[in-house]
Symmetry: C2
Subunit: 494 residues, 2 copies
């Protein structure tokens, strides 16, 4: 067992160092003094260089060659599959290209922030062109003759193919637009009124993460500018935010991040600090956050319980009764920003970005023409015009950070959540009676057993197929959305 | 300039990684979830192994050989001096001895904590014997034929020699004992009464660190079990603690740590992430914390201002007037624990530990006989008997952690603080009028210019000599203590 054990010991140290890098990011977003930014970026850079050198170490290739000739358990084979995948990837990207990408994405994100501030897409277009050229070069190296976009996608969703996403997304789009059209013509949902004390919101948030089964002895909840979850194993931390006029921002950001965090906390502890010891893909990760946030957290049953908790915490806040509260939590509303979008229009945002980035990568859309293409598509799908670039194609950091192939995993996560939700409800017929008491325990136990504990053992699509007993498709998500929002906005269903 | 630049680029990355290790320790002591301890120790272990490999990399030897033949600036020469010193040190200690020490100190600290809990020195003695044997082996390797204890001392106080400390400490002891004897017979100083709200203590602590010139944009202040300061450059963090019955614990821990932290923050920014970019020795570091805590922070002038702030924060707390407050802050009191000792008896604690550890290292005292030796010496110097080992030779973690040669730097720091204080008061004749208004600015500006900004540029003793215009000796400290405590406890001065 020499080679396999040596490889795993080496890998374990790499994973430990990668956890440290994640902890540094958490620190930067939560507690770092603002004057420490420049020094921190140098510190993080040094650690990333250590990680890069470890991950491209030719010894890995030798270990892999001899370890794969050994008799191995199912776990062992899965470990080798992950290590091989990242090693091959690291080998294919020339060192100077990796360095150029690191430099350029740092610069591009700065240029993007400035352009967004100034609503100046034209000034940003050449920067995007540069990063796109480098990413394409990287994609071609990774694809090794195959499809370039698929190679990019594979970074975030191993094994996924754009052709599959194409048909999935094409099947979703008309139904989403129909729901959006019905809502735009309907009476607006009730709104909350008043100020919501930030400390009271955080107390509620702490209650909510416990409801999701989040283990506070192996994590913590803090406020930050951006909600996120970070870390694996026994140190998985959550951040959330509060807005004094909008308590739902905190509540649903918290539930979303708790979904991510509980996934990490629920992985078999035997996989800790190994390639199997983290969520298996962005899509599966998003399915765990979305099902907690939406299918469970925005359900009629759970919002009934939540309404009572909010009355406890905030008194009268302008919404009278559980039904009105449910409608408020699930309102479909006009808006330009993806991260603020509702369950329906969120996917329209993603479908649009997916089509645009595929065209950019294929060379069918020039970076200079992105703004016009964005604005046309937005009007077609959303029904109104984008006024300024900061509300349009400059709103997301992803492309400036070189994250081509990332966007579709958000909707793929929603699709997986739809599949898991229908299966979960069959497995637990009285789920709503638990949710109505603020009890997510049976749902979370099912998710842990069916999905989360496996970590990276199965490829993403296989994992969902095993959990559901059927191959994932967009149909359950669409049925769920049509049933829910068809009832809330009847015109859409007529 | 090839070799020097290459060496410095390499060193810069090492320093950046070392900063990360420090940040991880801060995280562990302040915000880490308690369930994360085991995983964290593996993460920190991986990073320390990376650091060890970098620091023993033979390429450093090659770079040093060619760089020292280049024409270099004063700064460049000092950088090479530091790098050579740590590289030679790392080279002299065989890898298996370094590994054995790392393993044994981890185990020993655990055994020490258990023994202290159980007041069982006899059970701990064999563990101490093992760690002592390993440390002696390391000391012999480091000494390369020279004095073993000097080699240990050099780790914490480069260039210091036990022979110099011997005469310094011998000169201090009788005066310290005389002061202690006078105080033991005197009327006890007034005591604070009541409960001191923890949040109000932290508000006062935040005010105090600003008084010391601590830059909050490049640091932060938190509560932790142990007060400490960590980090260099633009991320230097402080922790403090609060005890509801004793506000002085928080106040003087905060001033002490702020003294350490301001030192790090005041080092020339050009030295950041280089060997010159951190405090030059434990003794000099302690001098900066002690002068802020004691010579400035416990002065009659500053405590007058502090008394008013405490009345603002806590109302009546049982002490009537500035003079009584000054006496309370400077009370010499019975006690067994070093970290709770006053300005006078603290040094008696150190002198005792220094003599005992020298005897242990020389083989003149067997670990099995340490408890008896400790208790005899304690009674001789302090005037009463040690009742249990947790209040005696098991109170400090240092020896179990292998830190032989560390203790004397505490008193050396007090000696340096005494030298700096007398020079500072000559340079700023109206210092007390500033301190009486809670203004440490002139004192801190003088310290920054004379000591702090230089970082590691000059060897410790040379740095203090340059700052004071005379070679450091114990005389100024003794004069300061006799003047101050002779007035507070007149019998000692008669």
């Amino acid at each position: 067992m020499g080679s396999y054990d040596d490889l795993m010991a080496y890998q374990r140290q790499t994973e430990a160092l990668a956890q440290i890098a994640g902890r540094l990011s958490w620190d930067r977003e939560t507690v770092m003094p603002r004057g420490a930014a420049a020094q921190r970026s140098e510190e993080a850079g040094a650690l990333h260089e250590v990680l890069h050198i470890r991950r491209t170490n030719p010894a890995i290739g030798d270990w892999l060659a001899s370890a794969s000739a050994q008799p191995l358990s199912q776990d062992g084979k899965a470990q080798l599959r992950h290590i091989t995948r990242s090693y091959v990837r690291a080998q294919r990207v020339p060192g100077n290209l990796a360095a150029a990408l690191a430099r350029q994405t740092a610069l591009s994100q700065f240029a993007w922030a400035e352009a967004r501030e100034a609503d100046d897409y034209a000034g940003f277009a050449p920067v995007l062109a540069e990063i796109l050229a480098l990413k394409r070069e990287e994609g071609e190296a990774l694809a090794a003759g195959g499809d370039v976009y698929d190679a990019m996608l594979d970074d975030y969703e191993p094994g996924a193919k754009a052709a599959d996403l194409d048909s999935m997304f094409a099947a979703l789009r008309p139904g989403l637009i129909a729901l959006r059209e019905a809502a735009l013509g309907a009476t607006p949902a009730p709104h909350v009124t008043g100020r919501f004390d930030s400390e009271a919101q955080m107390r509620l948030a702490r209650q909510l993460v416990l409801v999701c089964g989040y283990d506070m002895t192996r994590g913590r909840l803090d406020k930050a500018v951006h909600p996120f979850s970070s870390g694996s194993g026994s140190d998985v931390r959550i951040t959330t935010r509060t807005a004094e006029g909008d308590p739902f921002n905190c509540i649903y950001s918290t539930l979303h991040e708790a979904g991510h965090a509980v996934y990490e906390q629920s992985i078999d502890p035997a996989y800790a600090l190994t390639p199997l010891g983290a969520g298996v893909s962005m899509g599966v990760h998003e399915s765990q956050s979305r099902i907690v946030e939406n299918q469970l957290g925005r359900s009629r049953a759970f919002t009934g319980w939540l309404y009572a908790r909010m009355r406890d915490a905030f008194g009268d806040f302008g919404i009278d009764g559980e039904d009105a509260f449910y409608a408020a939590v699930n309102s479909l509303h006009r808006g330009f920003i993806r991260t603020e979008a509702d369950e329906v229009q969120y996917n329209l945002h993603i479908l649009m970005r997916y089509d645009l980035e595929r065209a950019l990568v294929a060379g069918d859309l020039a970076p200079a023409d992105l703004e016009a293409a964005w604005n046309d598509r937005f009007e077609a799908d959303f029904g109104y015009e984008v006024p300024v670039a900061s509300l349009g194609c400059l709103q997301d950091v992803h492309w400036s950070a070189g994250l081509f192939g990332y966007f579709p995993t958000y909707t793929l996560g929603n699709v997986y959540a739809g599949c898991l939700d229908v299966t979960l409800r069959e497995a637990i017929p009285d789920l709503d009676s638990h949710l109505a008491q603020g009890d997510m325990t049976p749902a979370m136990a099912w998710l842990r057993e069916a999905v989360q504990r496996h970590g990276g053992l199965y490829p993403p699509r296989e994992l969902i197929t095993r959990a559901c007993g059927f191959a994932p498709s967009e149909a359950p998500l669409m049925e769920y959305l049509e049933a829910k929002f068809g009832a809330l906005y009847p015109a859409a269903h007529s």
